[in-house]
Amino acid sequence: MTLLEFASGPGLQWALWIFVFGITWRVVGAVFLLSRKDISKPRHTNTISAGLGAVWSRSSPARAFEKKIRFQHVTGYAWHFALFISVLFFAPHILFFESVLGFSWPHLPNTIILITAIVATAVLIALLIRRATHPVQRFISNADDYISIFVVLVPLVTGILAFTHFGARYETLLAVHLLSVEVMLIWFPFGKLMHMIMTIPARFQAGTAFGRRGVKA
């Protein structure tokens, strides 16, 4: 069995099992931890709109803080947007997803994908450097932050190398790229990458709780 065969076969399967196992564990556990029925009298009953409002309002910083955190705000959106395009609109990636989902969607030209991948990589490296050097960010960061950045950064770098056939034979680069994605999948449920699943439900839940109590947030 070659490295590529392992990466696209058993390696991928094990990574997926751990990924699915971890995700359901975290999500089901979080759902079951929700507080039981609140017996206090609600100040507002339209908690769903309050929840949706919180999802929306937390997508941009409060006006008072905007100037202070502009760098994180802009780079955060640039990073997520570039990653989203690179992962979901590269033709070989779509074929990868199609092999399990059974359906596909239109792709973008490789040149655009290469640009977005480079932007995503550069922004993530900039954010990593900032996290490691900024006194406050450094103070509030733990190993989870650095591991989560690392396991996302490596697939980006190996993906660009595989795309450009740079540094080694294509099949080796592709195998390393797949393996790095598998490491990310395995880490995903157990670290801060879980925010991809949890962010919106958590905002919604907080928004509904605030809405019930009449807190405008």
């Binding site: 991928l12 399967q13 099992w17 359901t24 079951f32 033709a91 034979r169």
Partner: protein, 353 residues
Amino acid sequence: MRKDQNLGEYLRMQGVSRRGFLKFCSATASLMALPPSAVSQVAEALATARRPSVIWMSFQECTGCTESLTRSHAPTLESLIFDAISLDYHHTLQAAAGHGAEAAREAAMEENKGEYILVVDGSIPNGNNGYSTIAGISNHDMLIEAAENCFAIVAVGTCAAFGGLPNADPNPTGAVSVSEIIKDKPIINVSGCPPIPVVITGVLAHFLTFGTIPELDALGRPVAFFGQNIHDRCYRRPFYERGQFAETFDDEGARKGWCLYKLGCKGPTTYNACATLKWNQGTSFPIQSGHGCIGCSEPRFWDKGGFYDPISAGQWGSRDALLGAAAAGAALGVGSALAARARKKKAQAAEEI
């Protein structure tokens, strides 16, 4: 060609002009990735080369490799070079049969001890020697005997180089490649199903010119021919970059000659010279004919998933296994949530006391 005649004399006798011969030498030097200054060396060496003895053994094979070499195109300088070797044994091509043929093989081996080139096509059944025999001798024993005093071995075709089709799962004959049996001789793997004829003649020209084996890659293939993947040299590569793919074999993309990646083309992971040398005197190659590369020059190409599955498609395993993982995760989630509640209750009770 007489035994004492050199190649230059023979080619002149066949009506090949000096200009034509030098043109061939330039092409051969270029094929072997040699600098232009090496052309005169190639020409001189080839012109004075004596015909080397070649013993060709066909084991578990389909004769496609021989067909490729002998019937692929009209006679050319390459085929004249091929004529110029002393093909002392080839049971498909030789007129002799039975004991006479075997006697010719043994005589050639004895006469050219340590100097002959052994060409092998087909894999060797290692499970049961009775699966393939020639004149009552098993392929395994005949290979060992012939390899003992050869100068080098050229494993022609993917079967001889890597086991090929007979080696495909479940490999009923226990088929193996030449290199899995012979460990003490230089082996040049000229893989492909079948290999490109000019690659064979290129390897032979290298022998005649330098008397050595060419530079080989990690799989024992000549780097000059197998150094780059087909995707990098494919004329359809710009369509890949632009994201223009044929979705089916008869859609507009296919008619316009767009990239065949989505239809399972294995060009990116296949190392061969098809896209540059092509077939039938440089006329075409599979991708140019509208079908994706199936990766026939790579080991275990038959067992590496579907020919029509894109390279980037993953093998995700069964849905049941994924559902099982999800069920286990959900059970653990419920369990850990209940445990957390119990801890909370206990803590609250302790506080109340």
